[in-house]
Symmetry: D2
Subunit: 341 residues, 4 copies
C-alpha cells in the first residue's frame, strides 16, 4: 500500500530518533527547564534571527492554538479566522471551550484577506451597539492554509497592518510551516515572517517530530505566567525534554528545512504528474498537500493501491481527495503512484 494519507502517519525523522536515544539517560529537570529545551530555544532564535524571542514548546496543534489564543485574548475578545480555518471547523470547539468566540469571516482558497478583516473591524467599531458584541482581539491564519495555499509576504504585511490599526495580535498557525517555507511559491523567509507576526508556531508533529510545536513570540513578549496558563489547560509536559531534544535535532544543520524541501519536491512531482495525466486539481496547492478530483472509477481503482484522504464529495458525483507527502515519503512510492495514474 502506498501511503499518502497524511504527514503524521509515521514516527519521527531518523535523526530526531537518534538524538532521543543519545540523550536518553542524561538526567535533567522537568517542565521544560532542561538543557535540551534551552539549546533548542537558542537554535530557533538563531533561525528566526530574533535573539530576544520567547519560545515555548507544546505537544500538539489544537493544544497550541487553544493555549495561545486563550492566554492572549482579553475576556471580552474573540479571534478572527477564515471560515475554513482549523480553529473554525476542526478543533471540536476548543476555542469556545476556553470561553472565546471564533469570529469566522469568508476566506478565499483558505486565505483571509486583509480587506475582509478591515471591513469587519470598521463595521464593528461603527456599530453603536458594539459593546454588546465580542471584540476582535486577534487574527488567526495558517501558513500554509488548510487547503495548502500560501500567503504572500505582501498579504501577510497587509494583515499585519490591519492588526496594528485595530489593536489586534496576528497569530500564525505553522503546523506545516516547514513545508510552506520550502515551497517554490513562498516569497518570505522565517526571519521575514517573524517581523510580521505577533506570535506563531513552528509545527513539529507534521514535520519530522514524534510530537511537538514551538510557539514563538518574536518580540519576546510572551505573557507573564504563561507556564501557569499552559498547565491550566493541561498542556505542560513533565518530561519537557522530549520536546526540547526533538526541536534541537530539527534545528541542527537545517534539518527542519531539509525535511520541507524533500516533501515539497515530491509533492511538486506528483502535482505535475496529475496535471500531465489530465486530472483536475481541487485546489492549486504549492505545498505538501495536493488536492485532486477523482471520478468514482478512479477513486475505486486508486484506493486499492494507495491510502489517501477523502476530502469532500462533489455535487457532480466526483470526489475531492488529498495526497500528502512528508519527510517519510519515498521517491519510489511517488513514482509507483504516478505509474498508477
Amino acid at each position: 500500500m502506498l501511503y499518502f494519507l497524511s504527514d503524521y502517519t509515521e514516527g519521527a525523522h531518523p535523526k530526531v530518533l537518534e538524538r532521543l536515544a543519545e540523550t536518553n539517560l542524561i538526567s535533567q529537570p522537568g517542565y521544560g527547564e532542561d538543557r535540551f529545551c534551552a539549546s533548542a530555544r537558542d537554535k530557533i532564535r538563531a533561525a528566526c534571527e530574533k535573539p530576544g524571542a520567547d519560545v515555548y514548546f507544546l505537544v500538539g496543534g489544537t493544544q497550541t492554538n487553544a493555549v495561545a489564543i486563550a492566554s492572549l485574548l482579553n475576556r471580552w475578545e474573540g479571534v478572527i479566522a477564515a471560515d475554513t480555518g482549523h480553529i473554525s471547523v476542526h478543533e471540536a470547539g476548543a476555542i469556545e471551550f476556553s470561553g472565546h468566540k471564533v469570529l469566522a469571516l469568508p476566506g478565499e482558497k483558505g486565505k483571509l484577506a486583509a480587506q475582509t478583516v478591515a471591513d469587519y473591524c470598521r463595521a464593528f467599531y461603527a456599530d453603536e451597539t458594539h459593546e454588546h458584541m465580542p471584540f476582535p482581539g486577534m487574527v488567526y491564519i495558517s501558513q500554509p492554509t488548510e487547503l495548502g495555499t500560501l500567503y504572500t509576504k505582501a498579504e501577510l504585511a497587509a494583515l499585519h497592518k490591519v492588526c496594528g490599526d485595530y489593536g489586534m495580535r496576528l497569530f500564525l498557525d505553522g503546523a506545516r510551516l516547514g513545508y510552506g517555507l520550502m515551497s517554490p511559491d513562498c516569497d518570505m523567509t522565517l526571519p521575514e515572517l517573524c517581523e510580521l507576526c505577533d506570535l506563531f508556531y513552528i509545527g513539529g508533529t507534521k514535520v519530522g517530530a514524534l510530537c511537538g510545536e514551538a510557539l514563538v513570540f518574536p518580540k519576546g513578549d510572551m505573557p507573564e505566567h504563561f507556564a501557569t496558563m499552559v498547565k491550566q489547560q493541561g498542556g505542560m509536559l513533565a518530561k519537557g525534554r522530549l520536546l526540547g531534544v526533538q526541536f534541537d535535532a530539527l534545528f541542527t544543520e537545517g534539518l527542519y528545512f531539509e525535511i520541507g524541501r524533500h516533501a515539497i519536491s515530491l509533492a511538486m512531482k506528483l502535482k505535475a504528474a496529475f496535471r500531465e495525466k489530465g486530472y483536475s486539481l481541487f485546489a492549486d496547492s504549492p505545498t505538501n498537500q495536493q488536492f485532486v478530483i477523482l471520478t468514482a472509477e478512479q477513486l475505486a481503482r486508486l484506493r486499492q493501491h494507495a491510502a489517501f484522504e477523502i476530502w469532500a464529495p462533489l455535487p457532480d458525483g466526483r470526489t475531492a481527495v488529498r495526497f500528502v507527502t512528508s519527510w517519510a515519503t519515498r521517491e519510489e512510492d511517488v513514482d509507483a503512484l504516478i505509474a498508477l495514474l
Copy 2:
C-alpha cells in the same frame, strides 16, 4: 551529581525507545486509530483481566485528570479530593478552568478516608439549601498518593462503597501506579483495583515512557463522544501511535511491573539506610518517593552531591526533602548516596 530529583528526569526505558525505533517507519493512521494503540489496549485489558475495558491514551497527568473529570461530571457537580490531592493544589486550577469545583476534604497522610467522604455527603444532602451548592459527583484519589502512601484494598473498597451510596464515580490517579502496585505494602493486584474504581489511569510518564497515560474504564463505559471532548481540551495527539507504541512496550513481558519492582527495591534500600543512620522520615512511604527531614547542615552538605527536591520548610528550621527512584536509578548511585549519609 547523584540524581534523585524526580521520576521524570530521564528519557524512556531502553525497551520503550527500542520499540519506537523498530516501528518508526510503519505507516499507520493518526489519532489513536493505529495498530500499536490497538495492541496496547489489548495488553492493558489482559493485565487488568477486563476484556471489555475501554482504554484511552493521553499525553500527561494534569491533562488526563482535567479531561476525565470534565468529561464525566455533570455541570452541577464538583469532584471531592484530599486537600493534598494533585488536583487540589498542583494543577494550576485546571479543573476549575473546565468549570468544576474541587471539593477539598481533609486527608490523612495524603489519603482520603471513606468516612470523611460519607460525612460530607450526608451533611450535603441533609442541608436544605444544597441545591445552592455544587453536588459531589466524583471522588478523586491517587495511588500512591502525593506523599507516597498507599490505600489498602479495604480502604479502597470502603471508598467504592460510599461512591455507590451517593451516586458518585471513583477516579484513581495512577501517575505512579507501577510503583504503587509493586510496593511490598500493596495488598491489591491490578485486576482487584479494577473492580473497585470506575476509572483510573496507568501512568506512563513517570514509569518508563517519554510521555503518556492510559485512562482505563474497566466496565467499558467510556462516555460517548469522548474523543471529541479530548480534542476540545487539546488532548488529542495526531501521532497517537507515540502513546500506543510505548504502552505496547510497557505491557509486553511485564516491563511495567519490572520497572516498578526495580525502583521500589532501591527506594526501600534507601529508606532503610535513612532509618539506620538516624534520619527522621517526614512521611513513612512504602513507594518510590522517600520523604526525609534534614538539618540545615545536612541539607547543605547533601546538596553538593545529590539532586533532590525541597518538599517543605519545617517550623523548627529543618527541611523536609524528597528523594525519588525510578526505572532509571542505578544501584551504584543509591549506594553512593547512602555512603554520603
Copy 3:
C-alpha cells in the same frame, strides 16, 4: 420627543406595577418558591394548554439564552442559529463563555430554513472527521426574529422535524413573543407553538414587565438540578417573587396578549403610513419593530423630533432605522410621528 427607540424604554405596564404594590408586604420564601411564582406558572401552563409544563423564571434575555443553552447541550455540542440570531451577534459571546460554539448558518430575513439546517446536519454526519467538530445539539430561533419577521407554522414544523431527525432540541427565543403571536400574519397560537418546540421563553421585559422571562419546557422535561445550573450562571433571583408577581399579572385576563395587540395595531398603522408616504422598508416586518430606510435629510429632520435606533448604514448613503412600538406607545405619538413623515 416622540419615543420609538425600543420596547424597553419605560417601566412596567400599570397593571403589573399595581400587582407589585398590592402584594408588596406579603411574606413569602425566596428563590421562586413563593406562591406568586406558583400561580404564574399555573396561568402560563393554562395559556399553553400544557398542564404538565415546567416553567422557570429568569431575569433577562441573554441570561435566559445562556442558561437554557448551556444547561441543555452536552459538552461536545454547539447550537445552530441564524447568522443574524441574537446569540450569534449581540450577546457578547455569552454562549461561548459557557463553553459552547454557536454554529451560525445563513438565514433569510432573520429566519433559519429547515432545509439549511438539514443540509448542515447531513454534511456533518457524512464527514468522516466529524468527531473533530462540535456536534449540532440544538437549534435556536427567535419568534419574531431580530428583523421582526415571523416563522409560519409550517416553517416551525419543518424545523421541529429536522431537529427530531438529528436528535437536536428546538429552542425558541420569545423575547418579543407577545408581539409575534398578536401579529395579523401569525398563523399559530401559543398552544400550537408549544407542540413544536422543546423549550421556549415568553419574554416579559419587552412586553410589559420591569424584567423577566418565563422559560417553558412544554413536555415537562426541564433538566434535573436546573436551579443549581441557574445559580451557577448567576441567574437565580433571591426575591423570585418579583418575577412571579409580574407574570401572574401578565397572564391574568389576557393582559400579555392585550399588550401585544396594542403594540401591533400601532406598528401596522405606522407601517401603512411609511408605505403610503413612499418610504422604503428595510424589512417587511409584521410585528412591533418597523425597519425603514431614510435619506440623510430625512434622518436629520426626524431625529429632531423622535427617538429611534440607527440600524445600519447602507452603501448608498441612506440609513436603515428602526421604530419600535410597545405597551407604552400612545396612539397620539404615532399620529404625531406620521404627521412628521
Copy 4:
C-alpha cells in the same frame, strides 16, 4: 405566622415602590444609560465621598460576585475567601464556572484574618513550584459576614495592607452592608470603608429593593469593557432603569441607612430577649441575623408560630436556627416572638 425567615421575603420598601410608580412612564434608554442610573450613581458617589468612583448596577448577589471576580482576576489567578464565605459554599460553583478557583482559607466566626491571608501568600511565593498553582489574585470578604459578624476597621485595614503587599485586590461583598454599617458595633463609615477596599457592592436586594446590587470601584478604576463582560455573563439588564430608580430612592434622604437602623434595632431587641430568657447564641451577631440554639422541644413549639431558618443540626441534638430582621419587620412581630420565648 411571624416571619423571620430572611431579609428577602417581602417586596420593596414603600418609598422604592413609590419611586418606581412615579417614574414609570418616563421614556429612557436601556442598559443603564438612563438618567435614573446616572442620578443614583451620583448619590452613591456622594454617600461614599468619592466623586470619581465608578458604580455599576447588577441584579443579584451571586451574579455580582461572579462578574466582579471573573472580570478582575487574571486567568492564572484564584480568589481567597473564608471557608464559610458565600462564594466558597453557597453559589453553586459560580466562580469555578467562570474558570477561577476559590482558595478557601479557615475563617473565624465567618471572618478571614489578615494573618491567615499573609501566611498563605508567603508560603505560596516561597514554594518553588508555585507556577503550578493558581495565584492568589484577590481577597473576598463579606461585611457583615455570613454569620452576621463584622470586621473592625483595624481588621479591614490589615487585610487591605496584605492585599497591597501581595498585589491582590480586596473585594467586599456588601449584600447586607446597610445592616452592617448601622450596627452599634460597626466602627467605620461608608467613606472609611471606601478607602480600604478596591471594590465592593452595596446590597439592595436584602436592604429594601426588589432586586439590585451597586458595585462600586471607589478609585474609579472599573476595568475597560466591563459592560461587555457583564453581558457575557448574562448580567446586563435591558431596563437598567429598574436598578437606577431603586438605588436613587435608597440613597435619597438616607433611606438606605434608615432601613439599616430599623432592622438592627429590632434585631438587638430580639437578641437581648434571647439572652435574657436563657437561650444560647450560636453566634454573637451584632447585625440583623441572629443565630440561636434551640432544643427539639423549643424548635417544635416556635415553628408553629414563626418562620425562621434551620441553620445547622448540632451534635447534641439541639438545632442552630436563624432569625432575620429587615426593613419589613414590624416591632409588634418582634414583641410577639419575644412573648413566645
